[in-house]
Amino acid sequence: MSETLLKVDDLSIAYASEQGALQALRHASLEARAGEAIGIVGESGCGKSTLASAMINLLASNARVTSGGVIFGGRDILSVSGEEKRRLRGRHIAMIFQDPMTSFNPVLTIGEQLVDFQDQREGLSKGEKRAEAAAMLKRVGIPDPERCLSRFVHELSGGMRQRAAIAAALLMTPEVLVADEPTTALDVTMEAQIIHLLRELRRDYNGAIVIVTHHLGLVGELCDRVYVMYAGEVVEEGSTEEVYHNPRHPYTQALIACDPAHLHDHAPVLPTIPGRLPDLVTPPMGCSFAGRCARATGHCRSVAPAHVEVSPRHFARCHFAQRNEARS
């Protein structure tokens, strides 16, 4: 098995809010290995963005780490000094942002920004950095890189912007690449092209890729392993193949059943998961999914289930994990 580059270990993060501490992330653990792509899926508010922010060490100012940490290069990057945090960003752990339109500065050209983003690189002149940027733009499939460098973000098409964002993240060949909803802002054809591009880049990239999305298809296309999140917890993890074909947690099963891509043609009604996310200020005592689960018993509501290994490297946080065989 390849080397683990980034490890999230029992990480809990709470946000200060007027109602009290909002426990956005509870005891989440994951590993990103060299040459591997992992996917983190879940609905809005499940804590996946908080997890992504923690991985690039860019937590909001009202976030507080209540347990665990993010281990990179042998130390917990969440507890290093501010200056060291800054040095890790971009150079070692980079991020592809969700909405490239607003993620680039509107009054600086793409070129100026791509040069600035290499500030951490020493021994390169401005011109060399610009040439690096042009080469990277070319690599992500931008036909006329020089022209793109002298443009402002609003002058690029949606697909170009996303390509430029990917190029920015790859500029310094970081060990870990975190992509937060890399295709959400795109239309379907663009999305297909970007998935194709990411897949190609994966082939000659030796770092770890983390893809954070609500889009099951994207994870299915690109990732080796998947982590399903619900209400701040990792509820199921395993190889993508295994989790998609033999989901053991009722939430994962429901999520897959609701994915429009899996529906038969002309389904009269789109299936949904009834109920809503539990209150994260006072998370439920038992299983966090119990309130929406058809199979929940009194035991589920009072005792939190363990993360059970149902088969090698396939875990599910459910009391019935061993018995929850795929139904269809």
Binding site: R86, L88, S103, P106
Partner: protein
């Protein structure tokens, strides 16, 4: 960019023409004819006739308008009815005073406004921020001539720190500076309030923007992020408002100069209106309109230079 510049300048010229036509309309809408108002009840018809002729009011309206514009293009704005001096000379004499007043007022407004705005950002949501909010709104709401009267009363009459009238001795910078402080402060206060609010809002918006998060995610230093990434975006609305503000500062100058009996375009226009000295009124108003539009147009072009998005929305 060039077509944009040409468009802006064309629009400015059109506005000048419309303003001058409106001025003519107002002269004719003022009750009673200007000559008898100017001369008073004891005027003889001959005197009236003579004055009407001197002001050019005896000719048909379109001839008057045409002559005015034709002369204005060559830099001739007509003659003072009473002293027979060229209006251009009179403007040239007093305008530096107004410009100096405006520039000092604008500097006070910029320094204090941006300073207070940043202070409010740093202490956002705290007591200082709330006090500043109340203070700024009060500053915006009180008209400058009211402030002028109170400043005059407190600092010139009671405390005697600054002179109450005039623009200071010619050639003596010290006395000129002392004389400009109170009127400039009176004009600036409104703009201190505006700018403080604007800078606060603009900085807060930018500081939470996604692109700053990106810059942080690439490990840029905080100094570079604030100075290169945030300020460049936050300054755009400030430039826009400062240009408009300069016009408004010049119009407050009309009142404030009168309160402080300070020579300037404001006192020139006010006294000319009182004496029904129409060539002086028309000339000074045309000059001020042209000056104001030049400033606004330059600011628009500067905006387009600073913010590529403005440039593009206005290109087509």
């Amino acid at each position: 960019m060039l077509t944009y510049a040409i468009k802006r300048i064309g629009l400015a010229l059109l506005i000048v023409i419309v303003v001058m036509l409106a001025m003519y309309a107002m002269v004719f809408l003022v009750p009673g004819d200007p000559a008898s108002l100017a001369l008073g009840p004891r005027a003889t018809p001959e005197l009236k006739q003579e004055l009407m002729r001197r002001m050019g009011l005896d000719q048909p309206l379109y001839v008057q308008v045409w002559n005015f514009f034709r002369n204005a293009v060559t830099g001739d704005l007509g003659y003072d009815v009473w002293s027979r001096r060229p209006v251009t000379d009179m403007i040239r004499e007093v305008f530096p005073n107004t410009l100096f007043l405006g520039a000092v007022a604008m500097s006070i407004a910029l320094v204090a406004g941006i300073g207070l705005g940043c202070l409010a950002v740093v202490w956002q949501g705290r007591t200082i921020d709330r006090v500043l909010a109340i203070l700024s709104v009060s500053m915006i709401s009180i008209p400058s001539f009211v402030i002028a009267i109170y400043l005059l009363l407190v600092f010139a009459v009671w405390l005697g720190w600054f002179p109450a009238i005039g623009a200071g001795e010619a050639g003596d910078w010290g006395s000129q500076l002392r004389a400009v402080v109170l009127p400039a402060a009176a004009i600036a206060i409104t703009w201190v309030g505006y700018l403080a609010r604007l800078v606060r809002a603009s900085m807060l918006e930018v500081m939470s923007a996604n692109h700053l998060r990106t810059a942080r995610a690439f490990g840029l230093t905080e100094a570079k992020i604030v100075l290169r990434y945030a300020l460049r975006v936050a300054i755009v609305p400030v430039v826009a408002i400062v240009a408009v503000g300069f016009g408004s500062i010049l119009s407050s100058a009309v009142f404030v100069e009168t309160v402080f009996s300070r020579p300037g375009i404001g006192t020139l226009i006010t006294s000319a209106v009182q004496k029904r000295n129409f060539p002086v009124v028309m000339g000074s108003v045309l000059f001020m309109t042209a000056f104001y539009l030049t400033v606004v147009t330059l600011a628009d072009l500067l905006m387009a230079k600073l913010d590529p998005r403005v440039r593009d929305t206005l290109r087509g």
